[in-house]
């Protein structure tokens, strides 16, 4: 039997989380020792039979009250700032991150790599490169948790959440769902495999090295998205130039879109997804609302392919 007491640290963020943990642990232990020590010390010294000096007891002391208000306040604020700084770093993926698309559903993780490889309950990634996950759920709330990377992020139906990490050493690490999601919650997970860049490339190229091959394997996600785009006849309206019944989509991703009735919205992944499923939720200025909903015609994984395709369309 093994008795691990501290988890492996296998991401660039992990040592930073551990450092903060040790800092807080130091404060916590100091106070536990102080509190426990004083209780035992006083309980012995002032035990009812003892002859300790009990003259002129004190019932109030403003300096003491201020001391044990201000000192803990300063210490806790230092933890706050450190924790906040680390969290902000966790929330901001580097610009050159590899993109991986994740759909959680009862009870599996469906994962597509932008390069086209698709896998279930497993994530392969290269060591030394930041990886950004764009995640959504097909049913209830799940949470993507890799303890060795010290990060987790809830995965919600109806919207995209993102997380990123950069593996720092090759190996196999647990992938858990950490948000209770029903009967087989505990079984929803698998392994994250961090590979050297060369091994990762071989894995991407290989057709049958463990991942579940997509029917359109060999295609990138953007290419799969392009096929869907045409199959669903999106191009009938969304033509290049201003000739279609809908706005042209080249360069739409990341653009500030003017809305009817004023206001703008950043065309991020969530906006693109919403515009496909609920076109009338936000109406683009100058384009009367005539797009039908595609709700029910595309599943979450296909939506991600469409989003990947739209992201690949560079502006003129």
């Amino acid at each position: 039997m093994t008795l691990p007491l501290f988890p492996v640290a296998a991401s660039t963020l992990a040592p930073r989380v551990d450092a903060l943990m040790l800092y807080v642990l130091g404060i916590v232990l100091t106070f536990i020792v102080l509190v426990g020590g004083f209780i035992f010390f006083f309980a012995l010294k002032y035990h009812h039979g003892s002859r300790a000096d009990r003259s002129s007891p004190v019932y109030f002391s403003l300096p003491l009250e201020l001391a044990w208000t201000v000192i803990p306040l300063v210490l806790t604020l230092s933890i706050f700032f450190w924790g906040a700084e680390l969290f902000i770093a966790m929330r901001e993926p580097p610009a050159d991150a590899l993109e991986v698309y994740v759909v959680g559903r009862q009870w599996m993780w469906d994962i597509q790599h932008a390069e086209g490889r698709r896998e279930v309950d497993a994530l392969h990634l290269p060591v030394g490169r930041p990886v950004k996950l764009l995640m959504t759920s097909a049913d209830v709330i799940h949470s993507f948790f890799v303890p060795a990377f010290r990060v987790k992020q809830d995965v919600l139906p109806g919207r995209y959440t993102t997380m990123w990490f950069q593996a720092s050493k090759p190996g196999r690490y647990h992938l858990f769902c950490s948000q209770y999601c029903g009967t087989s919650h505990a079984a929803m997970g698998g392994w994250v495999t961090a590979l050297s860049p060369a091994d990762y490339q071989r894995w991407l190229d290989g057709a049958s090295a463990g991942g579940v091959a997509d029917s359109a394997s060999g295609e990138t996600m953007a290419e799969s998205g392009a096929r869907l785009f045409h199959r669903l006849n999106c191009a009938a309206c969304h033509r290049d130039g201003a000739s279609g019944a809908g706005p042209a989509l080249a360069g739409v991703f990341g653009r500030a879109v003017q809305l009817e009735g004023g206001g703008t919205v950043l065309a991020d992944e969530s906006y693109l997804r919403e515009s496909i499923l609920r076109p009338n939720a936000k109406i683009v200025k100058g384009w009367p609302p005539r797009m039908p909903t595609y709700e029910g015609q595309v599943d979450e994984a296909q939506l991600q392919q469409l989003v990947a395709y739209l992201k690949s369309l560079k502006g003129a």
């Binding site: 691990p4 988890p7 209780i39 706050f80 969290f87 303890p147 010290r150 987790k152 919600l156 919650h185």
Partner: protein
């Protein structure tokens, strides 16, 4: 002639079930919540047995999920929340302030009936097949996907919620209106202050829980889109509503315990409490700040970064008044004359365990750390240190402190101390390994787990069995004391406080004449005393 004590003033069934005497109602609650405590404990026992081995062996996944829901719902809503307020608060509050009853005695009885009706629905939900959502009822799982008795359970919790609201109203009105002549706010016992702060949360927070469960029921029954994104709803809205109540609910559980500890420590240190004003004020500060931290349950939920920053900051601030209390209690011990009787051992145990629970909260309040430990066994350990190590230790301390007043009998102090130590050891062995498990990454609500987590899980289960024994011992010697215990005088602990000036057990009207108060609480002078 001496008036009959409240236990003997009427012995028909209806004299109990239709009583408006706050003391009898307190006892009705005592029996009811003890029942629920053992139901919740039974569920915990099965869970701990299941977790002895990495693979499932005792129950099925579905049953396990129903067990942790049953454990959470009964312990939170039907034991911890009513525990100190409804049992000890009901019994002691009027005695402490020199009143002959609550401000609204009939509403007080209604509170108990609502509690029982809520309990009936909750138990029915468990017996008719169970609920598998967890006590947190996250949508859209609870509102759409779960095939279990969610609505019956929600109805039970909603009804029990009204019991809380009425109890809170009653306490607030009683504290404002029924204080004995001379009992000014600055002379109020700290237990009364803590009940006052708790009542504010009862009244202000509980309605929001009611609303969120009603909305779950509406979405489930009629498909009205509130939380389910497929219907245009927002699942995070549920979490906001739920935690707006359920975080302050933690303070409902812990504030009364802090009040109990503030009574016990001066009595058994024979010394006036240190920093009275700061302890009283910190109760109110906790109650108010406690309403501004709910989003710390949602750092990784998809809530905005800025919301996370604000909630993290407020969570650190709420730690300060809790610390102030701990330091003042310890300062009270200084130059005291300390008697380690059973209530005192529970109170000192409370301080130790609450300190660990509170300090580990700093790790969860730190955004970057929470991203790792959120939804793992780390949080399970943390909140059990608060809610069991803190709230239950305080409750048991209070039961042992006021038992002679309630029953007129003394229990065996030896067995009392044994049980307190067994509970303390069993508790730590159960929950300390869970901190390690959590940091290692074991998620909560896991029916099976990777084999490397087994040793720590076995330790935890071993601790739980010791803890279980620790909880059973008091049942035996307390029951024994009812018949064989020595008779307690009015004031076995030589304590100050109005409740100790009347007979044990008190007469139905509490006092033969209205007490007059001319000084502050805790007039202990470090004198040597001989307890009854």
């Amino acid at each position: 002639m001496e008036p009959l004590d409240y236990l003997h003033d009427g012995d028909t069934v209806s004299s109990w079930l239709l009583t408006t005497d706050h003391k009898r109602i307190g006892l009705l609650y005592l029996f009811s919540i003890t029942f629920f405590f053992f139901i919740g404990g039974f569920a915990a026992l099965l869970m701990r047995l299941e977790l002895l081995t990495p693979a499932g062996h005792l129950v099925q996944a579905e049953t396990y999920n129903k067990l942790f829901t049953m454990h959470g719902v009964t312990m939170v809503f039907f034991f911890l929340i009513p525990s100190i307020p409804s049992v000890l608060g009901n019994f002691i509050l009027p005695l402490m302030i020199g009143a002959d009853d609550m401000a609204f005695p009939r509403m007080n009885l209604l509170s108990w009936y609502l509690f029982m009706a809520g309990g009936f629905f909750a138990l029915s939900a468990m017996i008719l097949g169970g609920v598998d959502t967890g006590w947190t009822f996250y949508a859209p799982y609870s509102s759409v996907y779960s095939n279990t008795r969610v609505i019956t359970m929600a109805v039970g919790i909603i009804i029990a919620g009204f019991s809380s609201i009425f109890t809170g109203l009653n306490f607030i009105a009683t504290i404002h209106r029924l204080r004995a002549p001379g009992l000014t706010w600055s002379r109020l016992p700290l237990f009364v202050w803590s009940l006052y702060a708790t009542s504010l949360i009862f009244v202000l927070g509980t309605p929001v829980l009611t609303m969120s469960l009603v909305l779950i029921a509406l979405e489930r029954l009629f498909g009205i889109g509130v939380f389910n994104p497929a219907l245009g709803g927002d699942p995070l809205l549920f979490q906001h509503l739920f935690w707006f109540y359920s975080h302050p609910a933690v303070y409902i559980m812990i504030l009364p315990s802090m009040g109990v500890v503030s009574e016990i420590i001066p009595c058994f240190a024979r010394k006036r409490i240190f920093g009275y004003g700061f302890i009283a004020g910190s109760s109110l500060a906790i109650a108010l700040l406690g309403f501004l931290v709910w989003g710390h349950h949602m750092f990784v939920s998809g809530q905005s970064l800025y919301a996370g920053l604000v909630f993290s900051l407020f969570s650190f601030l709420v730690a300060i008044p809790s610390g102030v209390k701990v330091f003042n209690w310890i300062a009270t011990l200084h130059k005291g004359r300390i008697y380690l009787r059973t209530p005192m051992i529970y109170a000192l145990g409370f301080i130790g365990l609450f300190t660990i629970g509170g300090l580990t909260g700093l790790m969860l309040a730190a955004l970057g750390l929470d991203a790792h430990v959120h939804d793992t066994y780390f949080i399970i350990a943390h909140f059990h240190y608060i809610m069991v190590g803190g709230a239950v230790m305080g409750y048991l301390g209070g039961i042992h402190f006021w038992w002679p007043k309630i029953t007129g009998r003394l229990y065996s102090d030896f067995w009392g101390r044994v049980s307190a130590v067994v509970v303390f050891i069993g508790f730590n062995l159960t929950f300390f390994p869970q901190f390690l498990l959590g940091y290692l990454g074991m998620p909560r609500r896991f029916y099976h787990y990777p084999p490397e987590f087994q040793v720590l899980n076995v330790l935890s289960t071993a601790g739980a069995s010791i803890l279980g024994v620790g909880y059973l011992i008091p049942l035996v010697y307390l029951a024994w004391s009812l018949k064989y215990g020595r008779k307690a005088g009015p004031n076995p602990w030589k304590a100050t406080g109005l409740e100790w000036t009347t007979a044990s057990p008190p007469p139905k009207e509490n006092f033969t004449q209205i007490p007059l108060v001319d000084s502050g609480p805790y007039r202990y002078e470090g004198e040597e005393v001989a307890f009854d």
